[in-house]
Assembly symmetry: C2
Homo-oligomer: 117 residues x 2
C-alpha cells in the first residue's frame, strides 16, 4: 500500500473527510449512512470516499460475517497505515522542540560554568 504523506494530508485537509474518519472511528459504515450523517448528496460523498480510498485511509468491502449477504451493502472501514505515517512525520517535526530544549540546557550549563568563579 502506497501511503505517501502527500495524499494523506490532502485527504485529511477537507473537513468533511475528517468527519468521515471520525464517524468510521466509531464503527464501519455504508456510503449512504455517511452521506446522510454529513448532510451531503450521494455522489458528493462517493467522491470523498474515493479520495479516502486512494490515500489508503479507508477500505470498502461487502459485509462479511453477516447472515444475509446483500452484495449491495458495502461497508467502509478505517485503515491504520496512513495514520502511523502521519504520526511518524509529526514526531520528526516535534523533535524540533526537544532539540531546542537540549540546546537551551547546554547553553545554560556553559553559561553557568563560565560565570562560576
Amino acid at each position: 500500500m502506497v501511503t505517501n504523506l502527500d495524499t494523506t494530508f490532502a485527504a485529511l485537509a477537507d473537513p468533511t473527510r475528517r468527519q468521515v474518519v471520525e464517524l468510521l472511528r466509531e464503527r464501519p459504515r455504508r456510503a449512504g449512512e455517511l452521506a446522510a450523517a454529513c448532510a451531503l448528496s450521494g455522489p458528493a460523498m462517493s467522491r470523498h470516499l474515493r479520495v479516502l480510498r486512494a490515500s489508503g485511509l479507508v477500505k470498502v468491502e461487502v459485509e462479511e460475517e453477516q447472515v444475509e449477504h446483500d452484495a449491495r451493502l458495502r461497508v467502509y472501514r478505517l485503515l491504520p497505515e496512513p495514520f502511523v505515517d502521519l504520526q511518524a512525520w509529526l514526531d520528526q517535526v516535534q523533535a524540533f522542540w526537544t532539540d531546542q530544549l537540549d540546546a537551551f540546557k547546554a547553553h545554560i550549563e556553559r553559561t553557568q560554568k563560565g560565570e562560576h568563579s
Copy 2:
C-alpha cells in the same frame, strides 16, 4: 492564538509548505532563503508563508539578539501549538485501534469461557 485543525491541515496539505516546516525545523530562516531552497519566486513563497502564519504554524520577527539590527531581515520560526493540536487529533483517532483490540480481546475471552468445558 486560534489554531483550529482546519487551517492546520489545509496549510500542511501543500508539499511546499511541509518542506518549509522541515526547513524551519532545523533553524529559523528568512523568506528569501526559503524561496531559494524551494526553487520558488519570492511572491509565491510569500503567500505560502502568509498561509503558514495565518494557521499559527510559524511566526516572523526581526532578527533579535543580533549585533547588526537590520530591520529588513526578518526570520521565520516554527510555533508548537498547531502541532500539539494535530497530535491530539491523531491520538483520538488512533485510539480506535486500541478500542478495537480491546474488543477483540474481550471477544476471545468470552469465546474461550463459553467453549471451556
